[in-house]
Symmetry: D2
Subunit: 242 residues, 4 copies
């Protein structure tokens, strides 16, 4: 059983037009859309104590999803530090859409995570770049979202981003829309679709990608601490002066 | 003229035995050791106001060197954020020895930057892994430091670290001792030798590596901001509903 | 059931001292050492017709192991081309020891795959570099082989080699001794231990690494061809001249 | 002075419509377009003896450009092997357009180098992905070619391809249209524009990119052989049995 936690800022959904699209919140739409027998899904949101991300929850989470947008700064640095430490020890992290500018994504990658953008409800077309990747299992070579926010290159991420999807936008832009990273023992997947004013998280392909990514990001249970231990020589060192 | 700033914690040098080895500080030893006609070298230290890293100095710095050890936590988060932003816009960053655990190195890479260590004055042998890299120009295929602190794998860095040097330690360990990264427009080089109780920064090969790294890390003057601009379509978008 | 084919040059084993160490050949020693319920293991050797690598065998192989040394040139270019094409479509490839200089490894990577070497029966110590990698499951942080051939840096491989193991040699050298690559849909693992005059393929850790690597390299069954199809526009192109 | 050799298949230019666009051949158009004081430019074509690529020419070439299309198979394996060996020792290689399917590009990368394609004279829009890269110096953030052949993802290249340009095509496709690699001591740049029936090699941006790439690909003169030398221990090995 994979223990999934979906974290959502859950602010846009308080008012229209987002309220009508995601009445229970983006997190609940995703939770329902990816529901499966091998997934135990919990949700957490910004305005809960500790943003809902208690130590207990983080320790018992295999894969964390993150959706945020207008309230990135409201996320406490302490929680970000905890999530980062947990990812380095193995927890998978799936960052969605505007989460590119979240504190946690920037803290994991070190770069700006910046991009160019425009919201004119244009068509996005996604392309599978690595057909052998487990994240694209069951996904067609290309699929479209009729209305999405444009995110365009240059995307401020490190060079070890393994490209799984690239996107074409009607207005003339391109973007690395699905990219994986490893940081410490943790696997990270960034997936670009998901603007709050469109029903993207009801799209069958988007949901399948998220579900695949969860199974891909499950940590090996290594228990490795990534700390700085002092240690003894394992081979004999000649006496000083030799 | 390349504008170099050498930043040093400058705490160990207040007392013996480090005081005798580096009486003017590690920064001054490096400054003297790499002095050359194409380099304009300034120094800055922890206990100066703003740690000596004013906005004016950072903006006029092409390449920043960083040595820190016992006082990583004393470096203000505000200064770290400024240095990180400057690197993303192009400033080169050369992180030395125990600087692997500095706030700035962790902030740039996102990972733990952890490693295994031991200080028993053993011999270190460095190997050139990429003989074509500008950082190894004039450096022999292998060279030794008679006494160094051991830093051993696993080293908690991202996978895009381009390996320039790998090291062998008498006590049985190995380490990626010279590694480059690009973050935003900035080039980063981590170089492991340099424990404060040894005269490492008087070694001719170590100094040559640092000098080469400075020339390699000089930024292209792009002025690119790595921010998130809203932008207009560059190709015509069909009217809604089509 | 994972279908494994162990390919061996099987020339050294015709004479002493290798004959006494591996009387049925290196391939049979490995086959016995990694035997498990989820593995269906077949062997093939150089002097069989088509080197034992018929189209049928290749098509029904999930993971191919490769050991060669003195007869790399005797492997036909046609067979190499077939194996390469099969790897690109997804077959896993595990290249052992002196196989670094095989035609197939060079054909997959494009580089020289060269290294420095010495055979004086020195001790090798391997270190786990990525404790979260499935290939190191059950392997201690470090383990030794009392007598191995030294392979030393620089190792002529591309920069996307993901380092799983690094080695320390008594005589002063270091080496990236366990490295993974992806080429097309195929996963590749190079593992350095295995000189023919030592009983390396009876070592419990070496066998466990090979077994882990087989499970890691199993292909996703994508059927993707990696060919160059002509294709139609998927978005409307304005009439010429617009 | 950088010694540049432009290699061209020079077959399409024998007949219309290509003859009228490139009456002296694609190679001469490029040579004229990139002419500069720091470049010494020579040309070589398929139908010359040894395809014009004598040992003398290769040894005295710093950067080789390669354009081929309908006659990839007519290039001798011996010449390909020589070019590959020269690249590994440091010669820069710039592969243009349909050269993605040349023997030399496939030999350097090991992968299929396959892609999806269509020739309907649609518009291509290129985007700069790394604004700090020397190859994009003086190039606007985006520029267009009114008529190009579409090359689309998935592009069968290894994961260490550093992306410099990505392209958008009117018909709905995307492509990594400018990508760098290092193989041995040699730098490689693949640049996608350049279909023979369009005047692409008269475009000011295309020419500037090629010129920048030449300066970027100039080899460090290391003389490193990337061969397999036997070598002696550099650290003392305890007597056998210890």
């Amino acid at each position: 059983m994979i223990r999934v936690t979906i974290w959502n800022e859950f602010r846009h959904e308080q008012t229209e037009p987002v309220k009508s699209i995601y009445p229970q919140g983006i997190h609940e739409a995703i939770a329902k859309g990816i529901a499966a027998e091998d997934l135990e899904i919990r949700c957490a949101t910004l305005d809960e104590p500790e943003h809902g991300l208690t130590d207990e929850l983080l320790e018992s989470t295999d894969v964390l999803l993150w959706w945020g947008h207008i309230a990135h700064k409201a996320v406490s640095d302490e929680v970000v530090a905890k999530v980062r430490a947990r990812v380095l020890r193995g927890m998978g992290l799936i960052v969605l859409h505007s989460g590119h500018y979240s504190k946690i994504f920037q803290a994991m990658l070190g770069t700006s995570c910046s991009l160019r953008w425009r919201q004119v409800a244009e068509k996005e077309r996604l392309w599978v770049v690595d057909p052998s990747h487990p994240i694209v299992k069951g996904i067609p070579q290309t699929f479209t979202l009729e209305h999405e926010e444009m995110y365009g290159e240059p995307f401020g991420i490190p060079d070890d981003g393994k490209i799984v999807f690239m996107s074409w936008f009607q207005g003339g832009d391109v973007f690395r829309s699905g990219v994986t990273f490893q940081r410490g023992s943790g696997k990270i997947f960034y997936f670009q679709p998901g603007h709050e004013t469109f029903p993207t998280y009801y799209d069958v392909n988007v949901l399948k990608v998220i579900g695949n990514a969860i199974r891909w990001a499950v940590p090996a249970d290594t228990g490795f601490a990534w700390d700085c231990p002092r240690c003894e020589p394992v081979e004999p060192i000649p006496p000083a002066g030799e």
